[in-house]
Subunit: 230 residues, 2 copies
DNA sequence: CCATTTATGTACCTTGCGGTTAATTTGTCA
DNA sequence: TGACAAATTAACCGCAAGGTACATAAATGG
């Protein structure tokens, strides 16, 4: 059947380079796309293998089984997001500007990380059982909270922010509309139309969200949007 | 076990009542739970059949195939939610109280409809392709928007609400945190702990959300929460 | 330059599960 | 009352898809 040297019909790749890192990465890239698209049970190992430049065998060699691959994918997207958060520096901004910047960055980060969003949705369907197993992920997300806490502390110290302002709650709030804005786009559009998702409307929306948070956090802040008829 | 007449080993339920409606409902109830728990590809028809008091054959008899069953489930949970929204009457309340009531009701509705939340998440993973096929669902959700529009109109007419206040945007906003609060509980807890999900903290959270929306919509509204240290 | 480990390719096995076939009972109405 | 449709049961089927066995080429290093 598969002759090794004499080229009798069935070829056997008789010469190849060892490149574990590249092979691993290749698999991860494809798998991320497929899991994000179809979920854990929906994704197909054969299909993933087909799209890689390697074979199904290697998936099992490096990741053990489907769940192992899924976990690695999950850690990958979380790590990517974390890296982005780390890049963000608001230490030099005064509290109000810093808070505004953090909210805007979170909103943008979600819009531009659809794979992350989908994998988090999928993970929530699984009650985060794979995320909980991860060593790296749970502690990965401190960074954004630290930044928010710093800003809150500075804001309160300067007498600008209300005393009850809570970093975790702010993060929850910011995440909620940033996440929902992407995650539920399909069903929301189906029920209520696509009006809110146009480019101009999206930046308006962000403006208003920032405005809303500031109105609650910053003492004496006067909302700037929602004043004029749409 | 329950032999019919001649107890020749293999039982065959030889006596049964025709009850199409009940059988259909039985299947739907179990299927809703299973699809909500495991998703479209994750749910197992054999397992669903096992839990019903009927057989797998009947699933195919009434719903055609797995997707057909899934679509019916989807329509079911949307219809249930709609029915609840219809029960809500805020026409008698003055605008600010009415808006507060609508936000609270939406928040509560999401907390107490976990199947709905999960199925919407799942549907978004599928880019709402099944929801779009539905005849009933897309137009089902007008009710809540109508109510919000009425409240907004009254609020503006009374000079209480800012002119830019938009019903659709308000609904998007209210939905976003109400939905996220339930949908992402698993991953959020894993990353940041369960602090926000205690009973007392949840009602605080709702208070603050209402406060925040009112602060942006109602002219001259003074935020009542976030004033005292946590 | 041989032995051993690491990395890779091909072919295959097993079974879980979506879907079907065929028969049988229940209800209806001419 | 008997033919016909509707509802239901039990048994079966095919194959897709997760996972493995086995052989072998590339690196490593003593």
């Amino acid at each position: 059947m598969d002759a090794s040297e004499g080229e009798t019909g069935r070829k056997r790749k008789t010469s190849w380079k060892k490149d574990p890192a590249a092979v691993r990465q290749d698999i991860l890239t494809i798998a991320t796309r497929e899991f994000a698209a179809h979920g854990l049970s929906g994704a197909n190992i054969n299909e993933i293998a087909r799209q890689t430049s390697t074979s199904k065998r290697m998936i099992y060699y490096y990741f053990g089984d489907k769940e192992g691959l899924y976990c690695s994918v999950l850690e990958g997207v979380y790590a990517t997001l974390r890296a982005r958060e780390d890049d963000l520096d608001v230490a030099g901004l005064e509290p109000v500007a810093a808070l505004r910047r953090l909210i805007e960055a979170t909103f943008e980060a979600h819009v531009t990380a659809p794979h992350f969003i989908r994998l988090v949705m999928i993970e929530n369907i699984h009650n985060a059982e794979y995320l909980r197993k991860s060593e790296s992920v749970p502690k990965l997300n401190r960074s954004i909270i630290d930044k928010l806490e710093d800003v809150c502390a500075r804001g309160k110290a300067a007498g600008l922010f209300r005393e009850g302002t809570d970093a975790l709650e702010l993060h929850w709030l910011t995440s909620s509309f940033s996440f929902y804005n992407v995650s539920n786009r399909a069903t929301f559009s189906t029920s209520f139309g696509t009006a809110l998702y146009s480019k101009t409307r999206q930046s308006q929306l962000l403006e208003r969200l920032v405005d809303m948070v500031l109105a609650t956090v910053v003492i004496g802040y006067e909302p700037k949007t929602w004043n004029d008829p749409v």
